[in-house]
């Protein structure tokens, strides 16, 4: 039955592209897409939390905020930059900082591509000309508020941070959880900003993807005009940090202002593009209502409120595999942990069934189709091209990776579980309610 509904290989998601390099080392990736009169512009700098020095956790992300505070020819503050983009019809604009990379993107009306190139080249070439202590101080506070809002003042936020800290103990560069500590953010100086910019924000440490309604012959001279004169940077220092494998289970119990307990289990999984079986594996575990964890813990045993399983595909020092379950009222974290452990054990004791593996692949594929509907923005075509450029030095690895994923066998899923999801290598965090709150969620 499954064979009958597999779509032909010809209709697999794909992204045609052209890639070249400017003499200063900037990698340029162009991809035509004429469905709508818009163009996605997406710059990836190969710098992230992994490059932070000791005592400066959170710095890569703080720096990202500073990239929106104006530059020599767009003098002002963040309102100036956003106003210029907004006024010219930019959508899907943002900057994001991750463990190993930082990106800046905007989708422009097709006639305004040049404005985006002007802006991006100005902040790559001339950021420090207008950057001052006041901008640093303001954004430092904004970022500390971001930390409060998204980590400290949300349910289970601190547990998520703690999981990372236990998996990658200090002085591992991932220990800072990208957002960093208040103390380290307070320590960041204007000198740090200048050093960081000069070291990492150079054309030879970046790639730009331009995807949308344009002709390459028109765009190439513009890219050359705006980015060509920016000189190469110094050789960025290599990442020397190593991830030490865990040799025994690490456990911690936290209290939080929550009503339901939660169990989080983390493992250090594969690096980017290291093992194609990990995507199907997490999907088999917790992708959708037919997944093992949902079916077993939520539907059958009714001991969990919700379940999740994820692998972070963007960590060069080993991507987190995180499995979580929120404990249903009337049940205990111990029951839930035992059930999660049992399901993980099932993965390495026996291969997945062909049926569930095919289902997992099918859904990964249709998810990709949906992502590729956007030229830019989070996870759109431009992000995909940059991702494969960064990790495989080849945007075309998108197709190779998809092919490899669709070819994964049950035995490979079993092997990846055995390699990475071992009890002695895991971190288990249990979050317990801080106090009895009588108002809701009580037993029935």
């Amino acid at each position: 039955m499954l064979a009958a509904i597999l779509i032909a290989a010809a209709s697999l998601p794909q992204i045609p592209f052209e890639k070249y390099q400017l003499p200063n080392g900037l990698t340029v990736i162009l991809s035509e897409d004429h469905r709508a009169p818009v163009i996605g512009v997406d710059l990836w700098y190969h710098v992230g939390a992994v490059n932070e020095r000791k005592g400066r956790s959170g710095f890569a992300h703080l720096f990202e905020h500073l990239m929106f505070q104006g530059s020599k020819h767009l003098n002002g503050d963040e309102r100036t930059v956003f106003a210029m983009l907004d006024r010219n019809g930019a959508t899907n604009l943002n900057g994001t900082t991750d463990w190993d990379r930082t990106n800046y993107f905007e989708t422009m009306p097709a006639d305004r591509l040049e404005l985006a190139l002007w802006l991006e080249s100005d902040r790559m070439g001339f950021l420090l000309d207008t950057l001052d202590q006041k901008k640093l101080d303001t954004q430092r506070e904004v970022v500390r508020n971001e930390r409060r809002q998204t980590t400290e003042n949300v349910p289970y936020g601190r547990a998520e941070e703690r999981l990372v800290q236990l998996l990658y103990p200090d002085p591992h560069p991932y220990f800072g959880y990208v957002i960093g500590s208040h103390q380290d953010l307070m320590a960041a100086s204007l000198g740090d900003v200048q050093d960081f910019f000069r070291t990492y924000y150079a054309p030879d440490n970046a790639s730009i993807a331009i995807v949308g309604d344009f002709r390459p012959a028109d765009v190439k001279p513009l890219v050359e005009k705006y980015f060509g004169p920016i000189p190469r940077g110094p050789q960025a220092p290599p990442v020397t940090a190593k991830t030490q494998p865990h040799t025994g289970e690490v456990r911690e119990t936290l209290r939080d202002q929550v009503q339901l307990a939660k169990v989080l289990i983390g493992y250090i999984g594969p690096k980017p593009l290291e093992n194609p079986a990990i995507g199907p594996l997490v999907r088999i575990l917790a992708g959708g209502k037919s997944s093992r964890l949902y079916h077993d813990l939520v539907y059958e045993k009714k001991i969990a409120q919700d379940v999740s399983a994820n692998w972070d595909p963007s960590m060069q020092l080993g991507g987190i595999v995180e499995i979580t379950a929120t404990v249903q009222v009337g049940h205990t974290p111990e029951e839930v942990e035992a059930a999660l452990t049992e399901e993980v054990r099932r993965l390495w004791e026996a291969p997945a069934t062909v049926e569930e593996l095919e289902r997992a692949k099918r859904n990964l594929e249709s998810g990709l189709f949906a992502q590729l509907e956007n030229v830019g923005g989070f996870g759109g075509k431009a992000d995909q091209l940059n991702y494969y450029q960064m990790w495989a030095r080849d945007p075309g690895a998108f197709t190779k990776n998809l092919d490899a994923t669709l070819a994964v066998t049950p035995a490979q899923v079993q092997a990846v579980a055995r390699q990475y999801l071992n009890d002695e290598q895991r971190v288990v965090i249990t979050v317990l309610p801080e106090q009895k709150q009588a108002s809701a969620g009580g037993g029935r």
Binding site: I5, A36, G76, R148, S290, S366, A440
Partner: protein
């Protein structure tokens, strides 16, 4: 969950801007200025932003209007660039049709659709969709319900078969109702732990009151959900899920000749019937403005939610109001965000919005601020609301706000799912079929006087409800000193706590 750290808080989708780039004359502090070790050579062409080319006009796709023999309207937009078809069944009833004491009924019914039909159980429905690579979902709205599926075009028919079965023949088995009810209670508990969601819900309670369904969260309350029976759910579905109260939106890789026979086969047997009569919901709100405080001990941030009943989607001044809101708090460069984030650095981001429906939904101005500055931040919120109400708007603010709204429209149609959703919402909100096609023109026509009039007539800062979720012991004295009204304490569900002094505490 994968988390990305972003420069911009992701709340509302709208955005536009004040402030020209030229003005800043202050020289940069510090010494070192030039960029790279050897620096990027400056050039004349960098001095000014390049001028745009010929503007590309955007024409929102307008769906073709079809119908099934049983009267169900079908709206189709053909798009063949990716092999996906998005289908959205919209029903013009949601939380607004929930009987008193049954808050959460409509969303619970939607959650239960895929938990079992006359011929399928939950597991086979889930497997059925997933085997086809189809994504199924529902959304419960204040006055509408939507059931959606996105399928690969070559598996549209089998996906539609399960979709129609789920939407039309849910079994609502007792065991499934019980299980989903428990899950819902868990979701409610989780929402009560989240200060931002608490702020929003308590604000709704204050402005709509206890008699109105919109005074309660869409998920319901612990009490209401416990009271919802299998019978309630089945009755609600039977009453409101009918062809004359619904419309189907299809966007993607199909055409009318292919689609209509499939739909007739799957949805043609759907029967109509008479509508139940229900009383119109009534709003109630205390005459005196108070500051409602919800205690979140030791929280590093306070969530501030200020609001009132806003406007209906079909209000004659809807476009001036939207432009006005964009200037106030509807964009990154809005007055509120510029003040509380860029000027004062007390917040990661604040915003305002009008939630519009066939009847007036809430207006809110809101955001998280550092606890120590709660009173100061609230005071700045109130200042900006009063300044907006005065109606003074610069030409530049007006142009930027209009531009910002106009340019959000193409993004609504970026994917098939988004396009289907956009039209399903417009239909649910009783907006005309040319709403998106004429949107840009109607926004473009808004004048400064109209915005000023909208601000004067629609904003009532002196009467707006104020909700603060934060560490009450720490922030209450400062809030009291603002003299915006007496302070009352409520719990996270919006129920009044025993009278407590302004000093808060527990």
């Amino acid at each position: 969950m994968k988390r990305l750290w972003t420069v911009m808080v992701m709340v509302s989708c709208a955005s536009a801007s004040p402030k020209p780039e030229a003005q800043q004359t202050q020289a940069p502090a510090g010494d070192a200025t030039s960029a790279k070790p050897q620096g990027t050579p400056d050039a004349a062409f960098r001095g000014q932003p390049p001028s745009p080319g010929t503007p590309v006009e955007f024409h929102a796709p307008v769906p073709a209007q079809l119908a099934l023999k049983n009267g169900l309207p079908v709206f189709l937009i053909e798009r063949h660039d990716v092999p996906l078809v998005a289908v959205s069944l919209a029903v013009r009833s949601g939380a607004d049709t929930e009987p008193a004491g049954k808050a959460g009924l409509s969303s619970l019914a939607l959650d239960l659709l895929d938990e079992g039909t006359q011929s399928r159980d939950a597991a086979s429905i889930a497997r059925g969709f997933e085997d086809l690579g189809a994504r199924y979902g529902t959304s419960a709205d204040a006055d509408a319900s939507r059931v959606t599926v996105t399928a690969l075009s070559d598996t549209l028919d089998p996906a539609l078969e399960i979709f129609a079965d789920v939407a039309l023949n849910p079994a609502f088995r007792e065991a499934d109702v019980q299980r989903v009810r428990v899950e819902r209670l868990g979701q409610i508990a989780q929402a009560l732990d989240d200060p931002s969601s608490v702020g929003q819900h308590v604000l709704s309670r204050v402005i709509f009151g206890e008699q109105h369904p919109w005074g309660y969260p869409g998920d319901g309350t612990v009490k209401s959900v416990k009271s919802i029976s299998r019978k309630d759910v089945a009755a609600w579905h039977k009453a409101w899920f009918r062809p004359s109260n619904a419309a189907l939106f299809v966007v993607g890789d199909t055409d009318a000749a292919t689609l209509l026979p499939l739909l007739e086969k799957r949805l043609g047997g759907w029967k109509d019937g008479p509508f139940p009569k229900i009383p119109a919901p009534t709003r109630s709100r205390k005459a005196v403005r108070v500051i409602t405080m919800v205690d979140k001990p030791d929280a590093p941030q306070s969530q501030i939610w200020i609001g009132e009943v806003g406007i209906a989607s079909t209000a004659p001044d809807i476009f001036p109001v939207r432009v006005m809101n964009n200037i106030l708090g509807g964009s990154f460069n809005s007055r509120l965000n510029g003040n509380l984030r860029t000027e004062h650095a007390w917040s990661y981001g604040v915003f305002s919005f009008y939630d519009t429906h066939r009847e007036a939904g809430p207006f809110a101005a809101a955001g998280g601020v550092i606890s120590e500055k709660t009173a100061e931040a609230l005071s700045e919120f109130m200042k900006e609301l009063a300044r907006m109400k005065s109606g003074e708007v610069s030409e530049e603010e007006l142009q930027d706000a209009k531009e910002g709204l106009i340019r959000t429209i193409p993004a609504l149609f970026a994917s098939n799912e988004q396009a289907a959703g956009a039209y399903a919402r417009a239909w649910s909100h009783a907006l005309p079929l040319d709403y998106y096609a004429t949107y840009q023109q109607r926004v473009g026509a808004v004048t400064k006087d109209e915005v000023a009039k909208a601000a004067r007539e629609r904003l009532h800062p002196d009467q707006m409800a104020i909700v603060v979720v934060g560490p009450s012991r720490q922030i209450a004295p400062g809030l009291a000193a603002l003299k915006l009204g007496p302070i009352e304490l409520r719990d996270a569900e919006g129920e009044a706590r025993k009278a407590v002094s302004a000093a808060g505490g527990h």
